[in-house]
Structures are given as structure tokens and as C-alpha cells.
């Protein structure tokens, strides 16, 4: 596994210094006995249900700093729910979330950006009334300190903030090759382009942890490969840790350092791409072979 930790933003270095991957934990997944390094994200025992529908059951997940961590699984397995729990959109019923040295019973959506977390959505969540660059600039919100008077008259702190948010947005636009559409209203863009704008908006705050919920869905294969390259670039140049939900197994195998597999809200496997490829439970889940333990949650959950 390669790591490039050049800029990790505001995270307290003492609590999260990753001194290289621990081989055992990479192979075995989470080992509660002796964590060799402090993971940047550490979910333990996360459960979430909507009324009678169980979305997640006792999910543990350890994400090391600087890795690209894929989460795969069939539709309805709970992947998006997991991202929503991490980003504070949902509060888990049980379990804890450790992030950057702190432990939370639930994340708060209005705080996660300030903690260095950014995300994209399975179904786009852009601001239709704003142009591409304005959408991306919105991602700068956690750094804004100026008040509306300063902003309206472009005085005081607002001057420098506007300049840096523009610059950061321009950088993201250049990185994701959105220059030709930078001033277009986002609603006029094709779906694939909107997905890229959303990724740019998430990257602009230089997040410590980036959550991507099916960022390549609906893209042609060539574009997927290019987006995968950008995700790798973001990790390599910014040191961003990435959690990636993706259905295209080819992309996932090539891009991710480790893969967690969800099925019916349970984590059924966790390991390197090679291990996952050889895992019988994963093969069964994808081929739809029923396990005895699945019967309890099957039926309505999968409907």
C-alpha cells in the first residue's frame, strides 16, 4: 500500500499519526486486542433500523489514514446508510463512531465539515440555482468567518475568504476538468458532469475523510477510469482518506486498498482486494445464495 501524507489539514497529529500500515491488521481487518495504529475512522457495533427495516447490524469498520477503503454489497445492503451514519445524516441506534481521536455516539451533520469530513451523494445533491463554481465554492463554508456585512461589501475578512474560496474552487475545477462549464448553472449539465461537480465541491475544503457514494454510477467505462484516477490523485496529493461505495468490481479492485463487504446490513468480509476476491461468503452474497443467518433479515429488507 502506498501512502502520501503531505497535507492532512486540521487533524491533531499526535492522535492520528499513522506510522505505516500494520500488516496484521491489514490482513485480518480490525483487531481490538492491539490496535497498532490509531485509525482515522473507527466504527464499532453500528446498528441502524428504520421502523421494522434493519439497515445495519453491528457493523465494525476500521479505516486507516490515507487509504482508499471500498464498501461493496448488493443493493439495499446498507452501504448508503453507513455513509449517512458517518456523515451525521442518520444517528445509529447502537454503536460508536471514532473519528480523529474522538468517540461519538452519533455524528452531527452540521459539525462534520468542520471536523474535516466531506461527502458526495448517491442521488445528486447539488444546488440547482448556483453555477458550477458557486456550487464548488459552497464547499468552502467551514472556513468562512466573515459576517454578511463584510461579505456584501467585500471588506474585512470577507475579501481574503472570497479570494481563497475562489482559488480553491478554481483548483478543483482545473483538477476535474470542469473549466469549460465553470459558469454554467449546474442544472444544465449532463449527469456525469454533475457527479464531477459534486466531487469537486467535496474536495474544495481539502477534507481529511472523503465519503463517496457511488460517484461513478451511470458513467461510461472510460470516464470511470478517469474519475478513479482523480480519486487516487486526491488521496496522493492531499492525503485524503477515502471511503468509496462502488458497484463496478473492476474499478473497486484496482482502486482500493481494502474492501469491506456488506450484505443485509452485516459486514460479511473485510480485507484486501485479493482476499475479497477469494472469499466464499462474498461470492455467495453476489450469487444470491442464502445463508442461514440471513433468513432472519431477508424478505422485507431486500424487497
Amino acid at each position: 500500500m502506498t501512502r502520501h501524507l503531505t497535507d492532512v489539514g486540521s487533524i491533531d497529529s499526535s492522535s492520528t499519526q499513522a506510522a505505516g500500515p500494520d500488516v496484521a491488521s491489514l490482513l485480518q481487518g480490525y483487531d481490538p486486542g492491539k490496535p497498532a495504529t490509531e485509525p482515522i475512522l473507527h466504527l464499532s457495533g453500528i446498528s441502524l433500523a428504520f421502523g421494522g427495516v434493519t439497515a445495519l447490524t453491528g457493523v465494525d469498520l476500521r479505516v486507516e489514514k490515507g487509504e482508499i477503503r471500498a464498501v461493496i454489497g448488493p443493493n439495499g445492503a446498507g452501504k448508503s446508510s453507513l455513509i449517512n451514519v458517518i456523515s451525521g445524516v442518520y444517528s445509529p441506534d447502537k454503536g460508536t463512531i471514532g473519528f480523529a481521536g474522538q468517540t461519538y455516539a452519533a455524528m452531527r451533520a452540521n459539525r462534520v465539515a468542520h471536523l474535516g469530513l466531506a461527502r458526495t451523494y448517491q442521488n445528486l445533491a447539488l444546488f440547482k440555482g448556483l453555477s458550477v463554481i458557486e456550487n464548488i465554492q459552497t464547499g468552502f463554508a467551514p472556513r468562512v468567518r466573515s459576517n454578511f456585512v463584510e461579505q456584501t461589501f467585500a471588506i474585512g475578512r470577507a475579501r481574503a475568504e472570497e479570494r481563497s474560496s475562489r482559488q480553491a474552487a478554481e483548483d478543483a475545477i482545473a483538477l476535474l476538468e470542469l473549466t469549460a462549464v465553470r459558469d454554467r448553472p449546474v442544472s444544465t449539465l449532463a449527469y456525469g458532469l454533475q457527479k464531477r461537480v459534486e466531487l469537486a465541491r467535496a474536495l474544495v475544503s481539502r477534507p481529511v475523510l472523503l465519503l463517496l457514494d457511488e460517484p461513478m454510477a451511470g458513467m461510461p467505462a472510460g470516464e470511470k477510469q478517469e474519475l478513479a484516477a482523480y480519486i487516487r490523485t486526491a488521496r496522493d496529493s492531499l492525503g485524503t482518506t477515502v471511503i468509496l461505495i462502488e458497484h463496478d468490481i473492476g474499478v473497486v479492485m484496482g482502486l482500493s486498498d481494502r474492501i469491506a463487504v456488506l450484505d443485509y446490513g452485516h459486514k460479511i468480509a473485510d480485507g484486501t482486494p485479493q482476499e475479497i476476491q477469494a472469499n466464499q461468503a462474498v461470492i455467495d452474497a453476489y450469487l444470491g445464495i442464502a445463508h442461514p443467518e440471513d433468513d432472519a433479515v431477508a424478505g422485507e429488507a431486500r424487497a
Binding site: N110, A118, A180, E223
Partner: protein, 348 residues
């Protein structure tokens, strides 16, 4: 990544009119030409209500058009502004008119924040109903407590004359210039505001509140700011309505009908555009006058004030439905399209 198709370059070498030129021309004409050509009737019956309603619509557009918070309480905030200005002027000796107006706006902003608090929990229809509470509460309080109208028996009070630094703006032209100055300054402010980070936050909260929150946009603060600034501007529009247009201060003029009128202005004019407020207000003010001329010309004496009122409501109602269906972006979008088409014709 497949590079994005470059936009059409057919326009890149054409002569482009700077965006600020049109508004500047309008302002220059409004200050330099209109006072000399408009009759006192046109100023009193058309331009003064037009200015006050345009400003109120600019204010409501910040809240509803940009920040997406539906309000049916605009007239209440106009009333708060008008009565606050009256009382500041009455009870604080020697308070300059400008300060009075700013304090009136600030009072409306404070009341706006209070009635904006439900927006932190309520959305859409439910929020609209809660802003109705502002409408009824303010009207009730102003009628119930004589103190607000200095215990005038009729509840109708004469507005004080407009004077700044010894210069009085008493005649029709003077009041027009005064109102125009206030509207120009506040519109310029609104224009800058909606293009700033604060304005982007308004739109972000309107378009996707959850995504805005996760991005770190301070959603609650943004909503309350929209209520405060919107009410500030609408409150000052109320001062213009009472002091410059009617020259009386009375609660009855600031009723629910007025709130709806302002909402209709921004719907017809175009939500989330500053220009739209002026287009919509022009239509709402001028339209009844045209209708009454037209009606009496065609139907003679049968077309009395009752019929006029009725037909006015029907036509305005129909217009709103037509706009909502056919042109949800309002007159402003219609205007843009006309300009673009005219521009396109002159291009090779």
C-alpha cells in the same frame, strides 16, 4: 477524463454590453428624467406605490426567492416599519430621518427574527401558516394598543413631513426622489448581498438544506439572517408606503391582501431575481389602472369600482396561474429571452 465540450464561441467576439450598464441607465433616467416629465398624478398614483412595493418585493425575494422560506407576513413587517418610524420620530426629539428609518428597519428585522424562529423547524406550507401568525398578531397589536398610534381616536395618523438636514421632500417630486434614493440604496445592497457568500448560502439552504448543512453552511443562522434582512428591507418599504406614498400611518393598509400582493409580485416578476421585483410591482400597480381605463372605455358606466375590483382579482389570479405554469421564472426570465432574441437578430 473526457474533456467537456467547449461552449459555443459564436458570441465571444461580439460587442458585449456590460451588465451594470442597464441598471445604471435606469437609475440615471429615474433621477434625471422622470421628475421633469412625470405629472404629479403619475408620481402619486403610480410611481410612489410602485417604489414602495418594489422595495417590499426585493425584501421578500431575499427570504422567499433566494432563501426559499415562504412568508405570508410581508405586510406585517411593513406595518412594523411604518409604526416604528412614526414612534421613533414622535418620541425621540430631533432624531434625524435617516436614523429613524434605519431604526424602523431594525425593529422590523427584530420582529422578523422572532417570527422566523419557526423556520428552524417548519418548512413550506407549515412555515407559511406560521408567518400568517405574524400577519394577524401585528395587525391585532397595532389596533389593540393605542400607544402605537399615539392614542389617535381613529387609529389613522398623519405621517410627519420628510426632511433631511433641513431640506424637506414635501411635494410629489420631492417624495418621489426621497423614495427613489432609499430604494436605490437598498436595492444595490440586496444586489451585492445575494451575490456574496451569504447569498450563496441562501440558495444552498433553499436548494438542498441537508447538503448545505453537511457542507458546513450554518443553516439556522442563514435562515434567521434571511428573515432579518428581508424584514429590514420590507420594514423600510413600509416607511416609504406610509410616509412618502399615503402620508398616513394606519394598520388597515397592511393586511393579508397586501402580503399576498407582494408574494404575487415576486411570483409574476420572477423568484430569486432583483429585477423581477420591479417588473412584478410595475405590473401589479399599473395593471388595475389600465384595466379601469379599458373597462370604462368598453363597458361605460357598467364598469364601476365593484366590477373593477372583481375583474382585477380574476385577471391577477389568472395571471399568477399562467405564470406558475408557463413561466415559473417570471417576467425577468421573459425579459431575458426577449433581450437574447433581439441580440441574436443583430448578430451575423
Amino acid at each position: 477524463m473526457a474533456n467537456v465540450a467547449a461552449p459555443s464561441t459564436s458570441n465571444s467576439f461580439s460587442w458585449q454590453v456590460p451588465a451594470w450598464l442597464a441598471p445604471l441607465a435606469v437609475v440615471v433616467a429615474a433621477f434625471g428624467v422622470v421628475p421633469f416629465v412625470a405629472s404629479p398624478y403619475v408620481i402619486e398614483a403610480i410611481l410612489l406605490p410602485f417604489l414602495a412595493l418594489s422595495l417590499a418585493a426585493v425584501g421578500l425575494n431575499i427570504l422567499t426567492g433566494y432563501a426559499g422560506q415562504l412568508s405570508l407576513g410581508s405586510a406585517a413587517f411593513m406595518a412594523v416599519g411604518a409604526f416604528a418610524a412614526y414612534n421613533f420620530n414622535l418620541r425621540v426629539d430631533g432624531l434625524p430621518l435617516i436614523v429613524t428609518i434605519i431604526l424602523a428597519g431594525a425593529t422590523a428585522a427584530a420582529i422578523g427574527i422572532v417570527f422566523g424562529l419557526p423556520s428552524l423547524r417548519l418548512k413550506g406550507f407549515y412555515l407559511a401558516v406560521s408567518t400568517l401568525a405574524a400577519q394577524f398578531f401585528v395587525q391585532w397589536a397595532l389596533t389593540k394598543f393605542g400607544w402605537f398610534s399615539n392614542n389617535s381616536p381613529s387609529g389613522v395618523i398623519d405621517a410627519p413631513p420628510l426632511a433631511i438636514a433641513g431640506v424637506t421632500f414635501d411635494g410629489a417630486v420631492g417624495r418621489y426622489l426621497f423614495a427613489l434614493s432609499v430604494v436605490t440604496v437598498l436595492t444595490a445592497f440586496a444586489y451585492r448581498l445575494v451575490r456574496s457568500q451569504a447569498g450563496r448560502n441562501f440558495i444552498a439552504v433553499r436548494d438542498n438544506e441537508l447538503a448545505a448543512r453537511v457542507l458546513g453552511v450554518p443553516v439556522l443562522r442563514t435562515k434567521l439572517l434571511a428573515f432579518a434582512i428581508s424584514s429590514f428591507i420590507i420594514g423600510i418599504a413600509g416607511v416609504l408606503w406610509a410616509f412618502a406614498y399615503l402620508r398616513t400611518v394606519e394598520p388597515h393598509g397592511f393586511n393579508l391582501d397586501r402580503s399576498f400582493q407582494i408574494l404575487f409580485i415576486i411570483i409574476i416578476g420572477g423568484l430569486a431575481t432583483i429585477r423581477g421585483a420591479f417588473f412584478g410591482a410595475a405590473l401589479i400597480v399599473v395593471f388595475p389602472l389600465i384595466l379601469s381605463r379599458l373597462g370604462s372605455a368598453v363597458f361605460g358606466t357598467v364598469f364601476d369600482s365593484g366590477v373593477l375590483d372583481m375583474s382585477q382579482r380574476i385577471v391577477i389570479g389568472a395571471l399568477i396561474i399562467i405564470f406558475l405554469i408557463a413561466e415559473p421564472d417570471g417576467l425577468a426570465a421573459l425579459w431575458d429571452r426577449l433581450i437574447k432574441r433581439a441580440h441574436g437578430r443583430t448578430e451575423p
